[in-house]
Amino acid sequence: MTEETNRRRRGKEEAPPAADTEATLAEEAPESAQEGEYETEDVAAAPAEGSKGDFLSEQRRRESLAIDVTRDFPDKYRLSGAMEGCSDEQKLELFERLVKLRLFDARMRKLFRQGRFEGTYYSQIGQEACDAVLTYQMKRDDFVGPSHRDLGAAVGKGVPLKFLTAQVYNRVDSPDGGRYTACHYWHPDYGVMQPATSIMMNWIAATGAAFGYKMLGKDNVAAAFGGDGATAHGDFHEGCNFAGVHRLPIVYVIQNNLWAESLPLHLTSALENLSDRAKAFGFPGVSIDGNDVLAVWNATRAALERARSGEGPTLIEMKTYRWFGHSDIDPADYRSDDEVEAWMAKDPLPRFSAWLEDEGLLDDETLGGVVERVEEEIETAVDFAESSAKPGAETFLSEVYAESYPGFDVRAGR
């Protein structure tokens, strides 16, 4: 790290807590559990045998840093300012959600390596501030259209973790009864739409929801999430353009983590700031530090207000970074170590916790309580998922249609 660090949150003398937590979340199964029948692009993308050890130990190092939510960071990233209209209670509650996100994600990564669930895992570590801070402010029946890396959208909006673990594990207690793709978090009762894996589909759906609210005369708003890469897709344009024409109550968020899978930003767009995309649609676009909880709060708060008061959409580019690969076993060796380190130093969590401490809202005791509660919820959620039944293939044969038709028999195949 750089010299330019501030004091550690819990005092320089203490042993770094990473080790403990690492122990708590110790691995229980061999690394290779995900291999075998399962074989997708991500396995194909895993590093060659030789470098596998290095790769995994580096991943573990990062996870240790990640879960130290009060660790050092360079002074220049110190936060200052206010969170408009945010009560102290809300600040702490939001902090707890961010910690929850972080520890949950780290935990899932380990469980995946232990072969406790199949499929793949898309880690959001590093990007938590982006979606969670926005959805935290929304009303429960407001509409969220997340993408594939939006754990935070669900957690921010208050979806209990057990539904998310059940989704990761594809169990019957997930909101879709174990049908849909792991990591694609959603819950109908919390207004979080099931993400479509296909890029930008939910951007369009959220636009439709915003239209629906307006037409039905409801005062709800919608939010849509997408990555930097997704902004190249035609549906990005069609959705934004329509929302601009009809001044729909929607907040569009681009989580610009500089990479779209392996594609660097300069091959996705010739722009410096992706918020300039909004200039094509006649509504405001802003670019902010997506790792600065305060900045995200203030920008999203204004955008939500704008939407709610009928002034129309806003596009917010949040500059952020994913610490890990596109999916969990992508070595992400297209990125330089320097780049990764530089962004890890801008970790939104210690920056926010330091600010809370500066504001006198967070001390070791409060933090301890937060971590304890969060870890307990995670444990319970993992247990919940693991004891939830696996759906039989037969259960997937229903719900193709709402109505019944004389010629249709799902088992017969037509």
């Binding site: 909101p175 109908p188 929801a209 629906g212």
Partner: protein, 347 residues
């Protein structure tokens, strides 16, 4: 009692259903101010206002895809795709999102969406205004497709589609818009059940299976053949997906012979699916003659050639004649093969 054309039946049903259900809205290109390029949506903007009748930008993917979110928050969207040829930019949203959303969410969300689109040849529309491209969607369980051939079904299937909880692609035939009329009492709410084919004419010699405009060709051919003592059973499919296989099989079990007529190129057309329905599972001796009548395998349309211009009209007339001729030939040839009694295998 008013005599209405096919397109007037569509228009009236839209008026009625939009009046009935305040959560419905129309979205499509030129459907408001202009009343639709064919005038199917005439008067709706005036009646329901710009909040519920949306003149959309040229964004077919948005038109189809926004319905998913709108349906989730309680609307009953009625998108229009201006020509079936322009449904391909919306294909992604329809097949990947709209048609599968109910299944993906384990039935949490219905998708009560009716996409109307004008299709078919015979109006000189040329390469991009003539396609009969229903077959693109046949491998998409979760989606429903209907295609009315009569004025009554234009109303009845549209009403059923709008009220259905499933996403329905409603294919309206351009050639039928103003060429057929029927009496539709004002006070009746026609509903044509989705999923049920209609035996429009009974017969024992051969079954003709078709829909939309080609249904009328089949009826004409049946009349001609009746003069020669050949009785054609004519099935109007009405619903293309899912097919009413019981009705189709029952009829062909009786006649032993089937002729399927559609406008799309034969290659990969829905005739194949129907052929499969007929022959698959017939593990015992299947004495069955099946013909599919579609267009030649060119990349245009079913009943008319490649240009909006003059010459193609003639060419298409010849080809259209060809459809009827093939039909007659197959049916006639089929007669000597009539051995119905033993053909109880198709079930």
């Amino acid at each position: 009692m008013a005599s209405l054309s096919y397109i007037e039946a569509i228009n009236r049903t839209l008026h009625e259903e939009m009046a009935r259900d305040a959560t419905t809205f129309l979205i499509g290109e030129d459907i408001g101010i202009y009343g639709g390029v064919f005038k199917a949506t005439r008067g709706l903007l005036q009646e329901f206002g710009p909040e519920r009748v949306i003149d959309s930008p040229i964004s077919e993917s948005l038109i189809a895809g926004m319905t998913v979110g709108a349906a989730m928050v309680g609307c009953r969207p009625l998108p229009e795709i201006q020509f079936a040829d322009f449904i391909s930019p919306a294909f992604d949203q329809i097949v990947q999102q709209l048609a599968r959303f109910r299944w993906r969410t384990n039935g949490t969300y219905s998708m009560p969406v009716t996409i109307r689109t004008p299709y078919g040849g015979g109006v000189g529309g040329g390469v991009f205004h003539s396609q009969s491209n229903e077959a693109w969607f046949m491998n998409v369980p979760g989606l429903v497709m209907v295609a009315p051939s009569t004025v009554r079904d234009a109303a009845g299937l549209l009403r059923a589609a709008i009220r259905s909880e499933d996403p329905v692609l409603y294919w309206e035939h351009k050639k039928l818009y103003r060429s057929i009329k029927d009496e539709l009492p004002e006070d009746e709410e026609f509903v044509t059940a989705i999923g049920e084919a209609h035996v429009a004419r009974e017969g024992r010699d051969v079954t003709a299976i078709s829909f939309g405009y080609t249904h009328h060709l089949a009826m004409t051919a049946a009349e001609r053949l009746a003069e020669d003592g050949i009785e054609v059973e004519v099935i109007d499919l009405r619903t293309l997906l899912p097919l009413d296989t019981p009705t189709i099989k029952e009829s062909v079990a009786k006649t032993g012979k089937a002729v399927i007529v559609h406008e799309a190129p034969k290659i990969g057309g829905i005739g194949g699916e129907i052929a499969a329905v007929l022959v698959v599972g017939s593990l015992v001796l299947a004495c069955l003659a099946v013909a599919v009548v579609g267009t030649v395998a060119w990349p245009v349309d079913g009943s008319r050639g490649g240009g909006e211009g003059g010459q193609l009209v003639q060419g298409s007339r010849r080809l259209r004649g060809g459809i009827a001729l093939t039909f007659l030939a197959v049916a006639a040839l089929a007669v000597p093969l009539r051995r119905r009694d033993t053909f109880d295998v198709l079930n």
